[in-house]
């Protein structure tokens, strides 16, 4: 599988009153064709900002400072605003955490699907009745694809007239309306009930297979990653700390932070045993020394961690950002 999206050395900074915050600090990402890549990390780990950077959606006071974002051989950072708009929604689409706030309350669902089609779909007839009919047919088809019954009549309704799960489906339908090659799903289930969560994830997995697109699944839930993602990337404090095939990473995590994350998940098999949270807090990113960022919370910290730590190979298709890999043969 070749890379669809390749991000190298991405650094995104936010200029705040207290100082510069490097929310994304030297991140490399590779998304292959047809795969589902999971991005895991706590709030503030930089996972959402990384992909907002990819989409060109970082707003002032934030700014993408360095790095390459290559999508199908084109560096997206070199594109003009107009060229980037042609990529957004058409080549790379995104869904947001909460569909209630991501859908415009003052516009009908039909209009919100239609405008995406009108912006990008070149197969539509140029004008008139034929164009309207084609847009309508595609909108109905999209709502059908995400499992919304009697789509025809629901196009006229406003977002608030749908349930939470339905709204999430509608947002996915809008994102997929132009058949993007890459879907970035930012916390697609966080705002939903557990039963609906499973449905929405199944839907994304199912559509991915049918449309043959790649999916980046941003989540803080390792369980979701284990079930749906081919590969996983763990982020901490603006950096990638571990990446590799999902099964391998979960079976034998190489970074103490990944280990900590896995240990803090309650599991039915370990009932009665206390779950182990990771001690301490995510460090303040302002004025961060160039050491290992997990240093203050790491149970295995040593003096070598106080120097800058680079990503190292950690077995077949795997890498991790930890000096311990130099000591223990991978």
């Amino acid at each position: 599988m070749s890379a669809l999206l390749e991000v190298r050395g991405l650094r995104t900074v936010f200029h705040t009153r207290a100082g510069e915050v490097w929310a994304v600090d030297g991140v490399d990402v590779e998304v292959r064709r047809g795969e589902c890549l999971g991005i895991v990390g706590e709030s503030g780990s930089g996972k959402s900002v990384t992909f907002a950077s990819v989409m060109g959606l970082v707003r002032s006071p934030g700014r993408v400072a360095e790095g390459q974002i290559v999508f199908e051989g084109r560096d997206l950072r070199a594109l003009s605003a107009r060229e980037m708009r042609a990529v957004r929604g058409k080549e790379i689409a995104m869904t947001m955490q909460d569909a209630l706030t991501a859908l415009n309350p003052a516009l009908t669902v039909g209009e919100q699907i239609r405008e995406a089609l009108e912006a990008h779909d070149e197969t539509l007839p140029a004008r008139g009745q034929a164009r309207r009919a084609a847009i309508r047919a595609k909108s109905v088809e999209m709502l059908g694809l995400v499992g919304i019954p009697s789509a025809e009549s629901r196009l006229r309704q406003y977002p608030h007239e749908f349930s939470g799960g339905m709204r999430q489906r509608i947002m996915i339908a809008i994102a997929l309306a132009c058949r993007p090659k890459l879907l970035i799903a930012d916390e697609p289930t966080t705002a939903l009930d557990v039963t609906i969560q499973a449905q929405v994830l199944e839907l994304i997995t199912d559509i991915r297979a049918r449309l043959g697109m790649s999916v980046v699944l941003i989540t803080h839930d390792l369980g979701v990653v284990a079930e749906h993602c081919d590969r996983v990337m763990v982020m901490y404090a603006g950096q990638v700390v571990e990446s590799g095939p999902t099964e391998d990473v979960i079976a034998s995590p190489r970074h103490p932070y990944t280990r900590g994350l896995l240990a803090s998940i309650p599991r039915p098999g370990l009932r009665g045993q206390p779950i182990k949270p990771i001690e301490g807090q995510v460090p303040d990113l302002i004025g961060m020394p160039p050491q290992c960022r997990f240093y203050s919370r790491c149970p295995l910290r040593r003096d070598a961690c106080l120097a800058p730590v680079a990503m190292r190979p950690a077995g077949e298709g795997r890498s991790a950002r930890c000096v311990l890999l130099d000591e223990v043969p991978a």
């Binding site: 042609a86 929604g89 058409k90 706030t101 995406a116 912006a119």
Partner: protein, 335 residues
Amino acid sequence: MSLGKLIERLLQLVPVLLGVTLIVFVMMALTPGDPVQIMIGDQTITPEQEEALRRGLGLDRPIVERFFVFLGNAAQGDFGQSFYHRRPVADVISERLPATIELSLVALIVALVTAIPLGVLAAIRKNSIFDKLATVGSLLGVSLPGFWFGILLIMLFAVQWHILPVSGRIGYASEVPTITGFLLIDTLLHGNLPAFWDAVKHLILPAVTLGLPMTAILMRVTRTSMLEVLRQDYVTFADAKGLSRRRVLFRHALKNALIPTVSVAAIETGSLLGGNMIVETVFGWPGLGRLVVESIFLRNYPLVQAAVLLYAVIYVGLNFFADILYTILNPRVKL
């Protein structure tokens, strides 16, 4: 909206109007000065003649009785005779009303047309020089008193530069027979373009003076709500769909940002009524506002009472209209 709600709203109007009538009655009675003495002026008349005059105006009755007589007549659509004009109050008011409505509507349009684009621009160029100038400008707009600003405009545009007329609705040479009472419409109906242009020129300064505070307020409201809306997820999501900047700003952001602006505009239109009294006096505008000011000085009780009642009805009506507009713009709200 259901008919039931509509009737409920209309019924709410009754206590408001009763209260307004009562307050005006008491205020007028407490105001020093006697309409009969003002009418007599320097003339010498016998006490019998004065008594007859007083009786003729119904002013010999106690105030409580006058209040209920007024209510009874008003309920039948009779607002009495204007002391000064010796004609039915309703006739005098309806002659003057079109001039005031015309001025207010033009002021409203001027305010909306300038405030919304300026507010949007200030929001999308937040903290720019333009935004800061707009902030200072709107502060001036709400704080400059209308009588001062109006006179300043007259001094500059009429006296100094001779670009626009000093006062009035239209020049004597351009007057046309009344059809609707709205000069902009009447001149066009007569096909008299020079007269239309003359009416427009007479409108500019008073409309700007009247609309200025409203422009300032609406601009601030638009800027604030636009900034609020631009932070919303649905604007980011609209951007993520690759929509044009124009569509994101105007269809997604502005449609939501206008909800508070329109509500405030509808309510603020009521405050134009108060502004009218000052602006019409400054610009010699023959409308209701000036009529009311004159009538207060003349202690022309029936006219003041009827006019204030009319203001109250318009004000309540505008609030009601604001509620309806709000539900139209905001699909989440049902009345």
